[in-house]
């Protein structure tokens, strides 16, 4: 029995940035267009066409880098990575070799031991995407669609700090959540906005290590985990049975086969792989002013992990509530606005997770479809907590304004819905109720406590439902003796 090895996983993530146009040309880009319709001379690599860098792609890359805690380069440049491939129209990819836009940084996750764990980021660089090919099953042709070619990609390379499949999944979830918060990418793996290639190898207690395997073609977070699990078993078996190590086996690329639940050998990485990188002469180097970086940094929202901790530790929300309220950046932003900085977090959280969620689920709506503004909910919460509205009226009003978006305060004033809290009026109502329900008063005094509810209900009816139940209760106690 071979002793358990240490698992080392480094992640290469390609993140498509949410720009309107491509990285090096004004051709529009979006997912799902008809083949070869998002193409201009630059994308098609026509003779004489030149790349022109998209400022927004650089900004989104910097913003993402800052969210990861990376250092942003003072001077950065682009390089040509030369190789031939039908998806690559120019015969080279414009990428970044030795002066990436972002260096360093980290993503914090929950480690397998439940403790916070830091996954270090080595670098992140801005490059162009390739097109896509489809292949005849058993046929003679491959078909090329260049729509995706030239879309801006941020390649984020981690250090091999990930030590299990589940950590890899949590790393990806954390990364997706961060980019969703900072709004730089849709991070959708199905649509290929986020693509991930884990690099996996094992280190045995005696110092032996297996050759690094890069796994490609994985289309979901769960499958990243499955692929890593498969590799751990496969590499351990090859080591045990065949003595395969990095010493006697070259690095390789394997593809994930979803149906088989297995990785399949694609090719050995030869030392002859020679991309002949050199500085892209069509693009001058880029100087990035610190003022721009600091402005972007100042505009970063609170990141999900920090926000979750604050909800728990400062606002006193339960871990579950904190998780739910930070899980979706839109919901979290909505909650933050409803909170308005000073309202009671638990009360607002109850409204959001109770009435608001119920409404969304009942009507199958998205948050963006809701007419009520978060500030509107805040107003409702205020009117309830200062005693103007009782709980029942507040809920009724919520159901109305959530669809109409009308002002709660205006409706309250217009309809006279404010809770009756004048002690004289409450006393008068309670006395009237006791007269109308004389039998109940008698029953109560004869020792039947249930009769009290009839008197209370009558008093609330006299107040047309706008009495503060606590006050009515108190007055009833006094008058019943």
């Amino acid at each position: 029995m071979t002793p358990a090895p240490r698992v080392l996983v480094g992640m290469e993530v390609h993140l498509q940035l949410a720009t309107a146009t491509k990285c090096f040309s004004p051709s529009p880009y979006h997912f799902g267009a008809d083949p070869n319709t998002l193409i201009d001379p630059v994308v098609l690599g026509l003779p004489g066409a030149l790349p022109v860098l998209n400022r927004e792609a650089v900004r989104l890359a910097i913003r993402t880098g800052l969210a990861l805690g990376a250092e942003i380069a003072h001077i950065t440049k682009w390089d040509r990575k030369n190789y031939f491939y039908p998806d690559l129209p120019k015969g080279y990819q414009i990428s970044q070799f030795d002066q990436p836009l972002c260096e360093g940084g980290a993503v914090e996750i929950d480690g397998d031991d439940g403790q916070p764990k830091v996954i270090r980021i080595r670098r992140a660089h801005l490059e162009e995407d390739t097109g896509k090919s489809t292949h005849d099953e058993g046929g003679a042709k491959s078909r090329v669609d260049l729509n995706r070619a030239g879309a801006p990609l941020l390649e984020i390379v981690s250090e091999p700090d990930i030590t299990s499949a589940s950590e890899a999944e949590r790393y990806l979830d954390a990364l997706r959540e961060i980019v969703a918060y900072v709004g730089t990418s849709d991070g959708n793996m199905q649509e290929g906005n986020l693509r991930c290639e884990p690099n996996v190898n094992l280190v045995f207690p005696n110092g032996d290590r297996t050759a690094i395997v890069e796994v490609k073609n994985i289309n979901s977070v769960r499958n990243v985990g499955r692929a890593i699990e498969f590799e751990i078993v496969r590499q351990a078996r090859e080591y045990a049975e065949e003595g395969r190590t990095a010493e006697n086996t070259p690095r390789s690329t394997r593809g994930w086969d979803d149906d088989a639940g297995a990785t399949v050998h694609q090719r050995w990485k030869e030392s002859a792989d020679d991309y002949r990188y050199f500085p892209e002469p069509d693009l001058p180097p880029l100087a990035i002013e610190r003022a721009f970086v600091e402005r972007e940094r100042a505009e970063l929202p609170e990141l999900p992990r920090a926000r979750r901790a604050r909800y728990r530790d400062v606002l006193g929300l339960s871990a579950y509530d904190a998780e739910v309220l930070t899980g979706d950046p839109h919901l979290s932003a909505w909650f933050e606005r409803a909170l308005g900085g000073q309202r009671d977090a638990k009360t607002v959280a109850n409204w959001v997770q109770g009435e608001l969620m119920r409404y969304l689920n009942e009507h199958k709506l998205q948050l963006a479809d809701v007419a009520l503004t978060p500030e509107g909910l805040g107003e409702l919460v205020d009117l309830q907590s200062d005693g103007t509205l009782n709980a029942r009226t507040a809920k009724e009003l919520f159901r109305e304004v959530v669809a109409s978006g009308a002002s709660v305060a205006a409706l309250v004033a217009e309809r006279g819905l404010a809770q009756v809290s004048d002690r004289g009026a409450v006393e008068a109502a309670v006395r009237a109720a006791m007269e109308r329900q004389a039998q109940a008063v008698e029953d109560f005094r004869a020792g039947n406590p249930k009769a009290r509810g009839r008197i209370f209900g009558e008093a609330m009816k006299q107040l047309r439902g706008q009495g503060d139940p606590r006050q009515v209760d108190e007055v009833l106690n006094t008058l019943l003796g």
Binding site: G48, L50, P86, G91
Partner: protein, 500 residues
């Protein structure tokens, strides 16, 4: 032929005069007549010279009609109104083939125009055809064309120089008063010299490269040919300026004419390493330039002797950097999206390798191999990086030189036009033709070649003026002043047109 080249023919006037006449509603000369005359000259002479790969009468006449219509409507059709323009066939003209004189692009037609072409047309120029070149601009004789060599109008057994040999021959023969070329290591200046006309290699970044099929991106510049400095200036002024489609363009002072400089007080530099008097066959060229230097001193200019030691390394540096960039720039010619595709390729790898082998000529393949090697793993530091460091050092030497003088003066080429086939089998000898020109591209500075008389065989020689970044306006001012002082200038080749 007589009527085509009659004395005082409108095509043989200066560009300024011809455009002014077209713009003048009271003058009977129309753009269509001018274009028609140029097309007739091309028709008569091209079989002999092979300056044009493709003549574009429909395009030219449509542009001419638009110019004439503008004039009739009282609008200004621009400073090049109706002037026939020849365009090197590595610049995109929509609707016309763009071949780069290569089989790999034999059937390619671009959908959009090169910025330089679009700007010249917007200024009123009319594109009469696409001119021959060494395949992908790689050569110094226009013999490396997949479609046959161009001949020198002064001696049809000789080369016109290259790679923009078709453009230079067309202007020298009076087939078009203006032409566009590209200059990566001398490809405008060298043929301008060998054809006795004016050619300008602008400062890197003055003219957009958008639509110029890239040879070596950090060296390529589009520039004008004309029979005089004023004509070349008119075209350069029309095409210069920053372009959103080329990130390497920069704003710099326009080349618009300023007050002609006084030669008195001019400090001209003579660079020891540019002296070709000891180069075989170079005595005539250096003597011609010496003659001009003597006239300058007589007019009150001061001579400054300089040494720029790195100039001696400019050919090795150039023949690393240019092929390296070319090997990458030419990767897009892979038979997938456009261009030649090998018929019998049944795998992707054979499609690439055979299409490229069949499509590219020998010189192009040679340079792709040199460049691929210079960038390859294990060799990039010794070759590509080393050469790029030498460029930085060379720029510094030029900067220092221009602190001591206003302009450098040298020959443009060591010899006049050589015979067709003379250097075809000796690539290195061909590379050495660029010895006096490549340094300007490596340093990114402007240089102008102007006619400098004839050699002992009666063939044109060129004189080159070099200036600091952005100074081509002043270089053209100086070129005009020199021509006035020395009387040297364009002389029509026998049998072709020329100013009366």
């Amino acid at each position: 032929m007589d009527a085509l080249f009659a004395p005082n023919h409108p095509l043989d006037q200066s560009v300024a005069v011809m455009a002014a006449r077209v713009r003048d509603r009271s003058d009977s000369l129309s753009a269509q007549e001018l274009v028609g005359a140029a097309l007739a000259r091309i028709e008569a002479c091209n079989a002999d010279l092979h300056a044009f790969l493709c003549v574009t009468p429909e395009i030219a006449l449509e542009q001419a009609r638009a110019v004439d219509a503008a004039v009739q409507a009282g609008q200004d059709p621009g400073p090049l109104a109706g002037v026939p323009l020849a365009v090197k066939d590595n610049l995109a003209v929509p609707g016309a083939p763009l071949t780069c004189a290569s089989r790999i692009l034999a059937n390619y037609t671009p959908p959009t125009a090169a910025t330089s072409v679009a700007r010249a047309v917007a200024a009123g120029a009319c594109v009469v055809g696409k001119t021959n070149l060494d395949e992908f601009a790689m050569g110094s004789s226009t013999e490396n064309s997949a479609f046959g060599a161009t001949r020198n109008p002064y001696d049809r057994t000789r080369v016109p120089g290259g790679s923009s040999g078709g453009s230079a021959a067309a202007v020298a023969a009076g087939l078009a008063p203006l032409a566009l070329g590209s200059d990566t290591g001398g490809s405008i200046r060298q043929p301008a010299a060998l054809c006795g006309i004016v050619g300008v290699k602008p400062t890197y970044g003055r003219v957009s490269r958008n639509g110029l099929v890239a040879f070596a991106s950090s060296l390529d510049q589009v520039g004008p040919f004309g029979r005089t400095a004023a004509d070349a200036r008119a075209l350069l002024q029309a095409i210069e300026g920053p372009d959103d489609a080329d990130a390497t363009t920069r704003a710099m002072p326009s080349v618009a004419a300023s007050t002609p400089p006084s030669l008195a007080g001019l400090r001209y530099g003579t660079v020891r390493e540019f002296d070709v008097s000891q180069v075989p066959g170079g005595a005539d060229a250096e003597a011609a330039v010496d003659g001009v230097r003597a006239r300058l001193r007589a007019a009150g200019a001061t001579a400054v002797d300089l040494s720029l030691p790195l100039v001696t390394g400019s050919i090795p540096v150039y023949y690393i950097v240019a092929p390296a960039e070319a090997s990458s720039n030419l990767a897009r010619f892979d038979g997938v999206r456009y261009g030649h595709r090998a018929h019998d390729a049944n795998s992707l790898e054979s499609l690439y390798a055979r299409s490229r082998d069949e499509g590219f000529g020998t010189e192009v393949k040679r340079r792709i191999l040199i460049g691929t090697f210079a960038l390859s793993s294990g060799y990039a530091d010794a070759y590509y990086k080393r050469a790029m460091a030498a460029r930085t050092a060379l720029r510094a030497q030029f900067d220092a030189a221009f602190k001591r003088c206003d302009v450098l003066i040298s020959a443009t080429t060591p010899t006049s036009a050589f015979a067709l086939g003379e250097k075809s089998d000796d690539p290195l000898a061909m590379y050495l033709c660029d010895v006096l020109t490549v340094a300007a591209n490596l340093a990114g500075i402007p240089a102008v070649s102007i006619p400098c008389g004839r050699d002992s065989r009666g063939l044109p020689l060129g004189l080159q003026l070099w200036g600091p970044v952005g100074s081509e306006g002043r270089l053209l001012d100086l070129a005009a002043a020199l021509a006035a002082e020395t009387g040297l200038g364009y002389e029509a080749p026998t049998g072709y047109g020329g100013p009366a």
